[in-house]
Symmetry: C2
Subunit: 294 residues, 2 copies
């Protein structure tokens, strides 16, 4: 049994005539005969009594008719639903991000995006860059926002945000306007745990100057950005933190930024997604939103 058969049956039933049905459907009358015959065979019943000049639907046809109509309607509905599926920007957005973007960048972007498209719901998953990237590779995420690039032919990386690691401290602890890398080593210093992206980035910058944190005056190793911030505010020491993470404190002068002479620790956050993967509408829209904003 086929859609075509049902369409023809419905038309014959409506028009009570093979010929009229054939005209409405723009096919020849023998075709109608053939199809009805096949439909009758496949359903193993007679659908119309051929009375010579006229036809009469049988009891089976009366049963079939409403059901056939229903199926045809459902099919049309599918076409519409599929077309409509792409139109509205709505639904859930599950986004992976590493610590900094997940805590300080994505929430702002999500907020402005949701103002424009209220029918979206965000779910932000914070993991380290490599986990996020693997989830994208395994199709567990449509995209992620990460600070480290992995080399993979499957992935597309698009630079999203410029970030910078900055040395911060209370004005009390470090009243000076600038500092040299050398002098910094004598200052009480707070660092993140091993494996933290921020720490890794910082150590990479130090390596370029053939220095390690081993020569620093480490007063504490802390497990989160906010722990470090609290400690810095509490005057325990200075630290190197993403500017976006301390923007508020810098603006309100609770902390201040002390440029390290001859050292710029810029880094980028990237949007990572699979090259060949088609993004659902809301994801594509959010991508555009992010690229436009930054």
């Amino acid at each position: 049994m086929d859609i075509h058969h049902l369409k023809i049956f419905v038309s014959v039933y409506k028009n009570k005539s093979f010929t009229k049905a054939s005209e409405k459907l723009h096919i020849s009358q023998p075709t109608i005969s053939e199809h009805i015959k096949n439909l009758e065979k496949s359903l193993n019943c007679k659908l119309f009594d051929r009375l010579g000049r006229s036809i009469m639907p049988t009891a089976e046809a009366d049963v079939l008719y409403p059901k056939a109509l229903q199926i045809l309607d459902d099919l049309d509905q599918i076409q519409e639903d599929i077309s409509a599926a792409g139109i509205g920007v709505k639904g859930k957005l599950i986004i992976g991000a590493s610590t900094i973007p997940g805590a300080y960048i994505l929430p702002r972007m999500a907020y402005t995006f949701k103002k424009q498209y209220p029918d979206v719901a965000f779910e932000i998953l914070i993991e380290d860059s490599s986990k996020i990237t693997n989830m994208v590779l395994q199709h567990d995420l449509f995209f992620g926002i990460v600070g480290a690039k992995m080399t993979s032919e499957k992935l597309d990386y698009e630079p999203l945000i410029e970030d910078e690691l900055v040395l911060v401290a209370t004005p009390k602890l470090l009243p000076q306007k600038t500092i040299t890398l050398d002098k910094l080593r004598s200052i009480p210093f707070l660092q993140r745990e091993i494996g933290s992206g921020t720490r890794q980035t910082f150590e990479n910058f130090l390596k370029k100057n053939t220095i390690t944190t081993n020569t620093f005056n480490i007063v504490a190793t802390l497990g989160s950005i906010s722990a470090v911030k609290q400690a810095v505010k509490g005057n325990l020491g200075a630290s190197v933190i993403s500017r976006v993470a301390v923007q508020e404190e810098l603006d309100s002068s609770i902390l201040h930024e002390i440029p390290i002479i001859n050292m710029k620790m810029k880094r980028k956050f990237y949007l990572v997604l699979q090259k060949k993967r088609t993004l659902p509408t809301q994801y594509a829209a959010f991508c555009e939103h992010m690229k436009k904003k930054y």
Copy 2:
């Protein structure tokens, strides 16, 4: 869009592979490719991201999948419903009949039939034979039970019941065991109105003996069988009535039958139906029931 396309889509979606789907469906892989391509074109969207070695359904495919399953289920359901439609003997039976069969024969048959098939409901329509026959011709009825044949190529007549017009009276009015047609004319006689089947049949029999009711001793003309019966019981006169209509009175000896010498007024009632019309199950079953009983 076609059922076949949906079946293929569902299989690809389930197996997450064109090749596996092709094996399950016993068709070649390029055919799958082709059909999915066509489905994508007709729905104007991408359904699967081809990622090289694997494929991923897109958001549109996720929308389509449950709907496609639903439609396929519905189609199977149709097949079953149609097959099942013919099985049970149930539903409404609208049957046309002329006066005598409608009042004295059909009710008994309907009663015994309903004992066998409790899920049927009868609707008995009493009209004169020509009206019933026309309704059958116009497909307003599947069949009727009539006393008069019309010549039409479209119709099938099947003899159902032998009936006989009999002269009845109270023993008080007509104590004799037999009577001649000649003597009958002096007896007070009750007749039906013009147009009644019984009267017409009786007059046809008289015509064969070149007699009309004009020469009878008519004491009243009455509009229904029961009116005539009441009048005969009230001793107003004798009358000629279908035996089935007075069987009770004959059995209980309230009235008795006086054979008219050299006159047998047998007549038949016929089942009338359209030659080419397919009967719904309950009608076909009732037909068989009637033929078996008589």
